[in-house]
Amino acid sequence: MGEYPSASGEFRSRFQAEDHLQEFASLRYLPAAVTHMVSEKLKRREDAHLPHPLDQLTVDEVNAARRIILDVRHPTQVVIRDISLQEPPKALLWPYLEAEHGGAREKELAKLRPPRIAKALYDTISLSKEHSFCESIIDLGKGREISMEIIDKKFHAPMSA
């Protein structure tokens, strides 16, 4: 691989200030070891932040959605096909994106943040082995299912295994 220019004294003193870590993460000219340290610190800060509305569901969110489905359908047997992010509707997401690009800070963005929604596709299996293909919408913030639809038998689920 290529060589990176070595960090100057000016970079080193600025590096101490936590506030400037954001700037440093985007600079391309730091040695690999420094870039790695900066990424690690940023990751700890980011962990404390909420996901962006367009981020994929985290492992915890997927597990939470799964738990909610199993609980609300209990005691019916459930076979889960897919759990993924339900992207926010444009009317809710657009103001957030505009504010984000306008430089709004976390407090202002928090007010515009759309609800974090998961969509789950799954089969329920009755005692008589009847399958129903279902779709549930789950509000992860509220921790509950907000809608459920049993899909008409003329429509089939996509392949999921």
Partner: protein, 223 residues
């Protein structure tokens, strides 16, 4: 393979001893108002002369399609495929019993390519002495005044969101709708040999990661 219906259908062919049958599972689609969850198996064989596990089986097709009920996991019927054209009046069942005799191997894995790989290519090196010109932070990608976010789902695969140039919105969301390939023979049941790669299988579900040095050169990750 366990199905007696399927084994019976295979008996109608005269195949070299030890031929390994390969089954490609495909979506069935619908044939009436409410179709059971069927799948269809397109049937091929490994090159009988090598029986290599990575043999390109598509070069050795067999003209039968078993239809399977995915609830009961049973073969419900075998569809017979037409193999000829105008010369046999577009009829079914006109193919030879020795159904693989006309087939020629067409291998693509390096070990099996006939004549071996080319040896006269000069090296191609991609070097990026100052790193790449793009930055990636989470799902936010920036390059040359462009910025966008990358999403992913099992149906569409990768999606592009909030694409901007100098902060000015260009596209809100970009994705492929569908990729469908009709295998265009007008005779039944070929109308059902039409893969809907997004809706049926899922482009995201089927995708793999690119591999550095194999699929692309240069720096592909910056974080």
């Amino acid at each position: 393979m366990a199905s007696p219906l399927f084994q019976e259908a295979l008996q109608k062919f005269s195949l070299p001893p030890g031929t390994t049958i390969v089954v490609d599972p495909w979506m069935y689609g619908g044939c009436s108002e409410e179709t059971p969850r069927y799948m269809q198996g397109l049937i091929y064989a490994r090159d009988p002369s090598s029986n290599h596990p990575d043999s390109n089986h598509y070069a050795f097709p067999l003209p039968i399609i078993p239809v399977v009920d995915m609830r009961t996991l049973e073969v419900v019927r075998i569809d017979e495929l037409a193999t000829g054209g105008a010369e046999d009046g577009h009829k079914r069942g006109t193919g030879p019993k020795r159904a693989l005799d006309h087939c020629k191997a067409s291998e693509y894995i390096p070990e099996l390519v006939e004549g071996g790989l080319r040896t006269d290519l000069k090296p191609l090196n991609v070097t990026q002495p100052l790193g790449p010109s793009f930055t990636v932070k989470g799902n936010l990608v920036k390059w040359q005044k462009w910025s966008f976010r990358v999403g992913f789902n099992s149906r569409e695969g990768a999606t592009i969101h909030d694409l901007r140039f100098e902060g000015r919105s260009i596209f809100y969301r970009l994705s492929f709708s569908e990729m469908s390939v009709p295998y265009g023979d007008p005779r039944s049941p070929f109308q059902r040999k039409q893969a809907f790669d997004f809706g049926d299988g899922g482009a995201g579900r089927a995708s793999n990661n690119l591999q550095l040095g194999c699929d692309c050169l240069g720096l592909i990750k910056v974080e």
